[in-house]
Amino acid sequence: MTRRKIRQRAPWPLLVLGSLGAAVFVLPLIGLATRTPWSRLRELVMSDVVVDALKLSLMTSVLAAAISLLLGVPLAWLLARVEFPGRRIVRAIVTLPMVLPPVVGGAALLFALGRRGVIGEPINDATGFLLPFSVWGVVVANVFVAMPFLVVTVEGALRNVDGRHEAAAATLGASRLTVFRRITLPMIAPSVRAGLVLAWARALGEFGATVTFAGNLQGRTQTLPLAVFVALEQDRDTAVAISLVLVAVSLAVLLLLRDRWWSNGADL
């Protein structure tokens, strides 16, 4: 005997509004698909500009996500667990890139780390190393806009962790670092992974800070979003093709990771 399923009708106001909400996201995709030159797609996607941009985008976004993880988790811990003067201000500054226009962020990075920047100038004088208009410039711009997503996610998780388990670990002789490594981190792992995916996704789509801080040099700093923007001016078909590549890569990663990483045990 098969189990009977109870089918419940969704209330119509929720159904109508929810469907409209979904349409906001689905319609642009349809628009993109209708303008796609399907016959020339392969040729367009395999062009040097697109391949260079794709490689660069993947590399810099993954690197930015990794750096966000390395620095963002400890930062989230400090914000969640250590009371220090000005903590609220620091938290506000850390989350600022989430609301700031990325162009402003890019400009600020330039003033700090550029050739004439407060930190950039002494570094350039001493080593000759220049961050802007390099691959590392792209990574820094990406970290700047992406890390807040990881910090916010992880800090929220840290605040929700039941401190009693950490206390129990302390009574067993574990130092604070050991407690963090062996108890806290495994407990917040689902949120860390979710934050990592969010940060990576944000880095992949980053445009404004990158173009301001790192410029738009093909093969060096021209990521996929930048390539789309340039192509829109010159060759609309290429722009559509690149957009499709971005959609495909993002969708594939999100679908894959949501099932495996992001579920928190629930079916998402």
Binding site: A167, A169, A170, T171, L172, G173, A174, T178
Partner: protein
Amino acid sequence: MNGLDAHLVVQLAGGFYLDVAFSIAPGETLALLGPNGAGKSTAVDVLAGLTPLDDGHVVLNNRVLDAPADDVFVVAEQRRIGVVFQDYLLFDHLSVLENVMFGPLALGERKPQAKAMANELLERLDMQGLSSRTPPQLSGGQAQRVALARALATQPDLLLLDEALAALDVTTRGTLRRVLAQHLSDFSGPRLLITHDPTDAFLLADRIAIVEDGSLSQVGSAEDIRRRPATPYVAALAGTNLLVGTNRAGFLTLDHHGHDLQTADTSIDGPVLITVHPTAIALHRKQPSGSPRNTWQTRVVSVEPLGDTTRITLGDPLPLGVDITPGATAALNLHEGAAVWASVKATEITVTPAAVNVKSGRN
């Protein structure tokens, strides 16, 4: 002095203070017994080093762990106090073996040694077959033993058990109390049992300290507390009469007293703990009609007025406490040495499975 010397003064939420002083000798079990909200869990936190004292001191084996007046505070990870928490707080992402290995590893033990220690402890607690499971796969009783093994693995100077049996259902409590009694006696340091359950305190502890509204209202042996309750609360707490005996299809043979009883509970055969609530015992001047088995003649040993009730202590053959109203005391003309008949219904005598070797004969 070796052992624990504690004077705990902490400001509690709601404006009152926890202010209790006690000491525990090595090999001694002290029970801190009190109602929920009396400040017992705060006592756990300050002893373990999770909350600082406001005043007083904690000294363990001559080592000062907390003394606000001298500005001394030793952090939890350096206290060497093994805690079995109320909800065990096992690490769900680690296996049973890894949970027990956690302490030794954190204290700098090498992996093979930590593993050997953990295995030995788990074996001693009859848990060796479960070492690769994770905590969510354990029953309450198994989780309790893992928590105990984890605490003992650090070779602590003090063992602290916070409501160690509270999370278990009634049927497993009796069995686990016996297991716990045995493992407590294996630990040679001072042992502190925090509980709201008089049965746990009376059966597992050598001495009982009763906390009421943040302060100790009485400290003494189970005998002291039962015989001379200092406050009405203690009287009510200690009121439950506990006897040890054997159940055979409802017929109870008592270990220490020459009188048998009959219970309506025939579900458990063998060694049992027998509880009779003081209000369940009726007193009469003349022999009452009814079951002859649960009716006996005795003498009044003491009469203590305790506010709304009067605590009558009966002598041989069954030294039981009886609570009756002052009016009934007067009507029956009860005084020390008075001859009375006592009776109790078979349905009022409850039994739980008992160990053969628990501390017994407290009545």
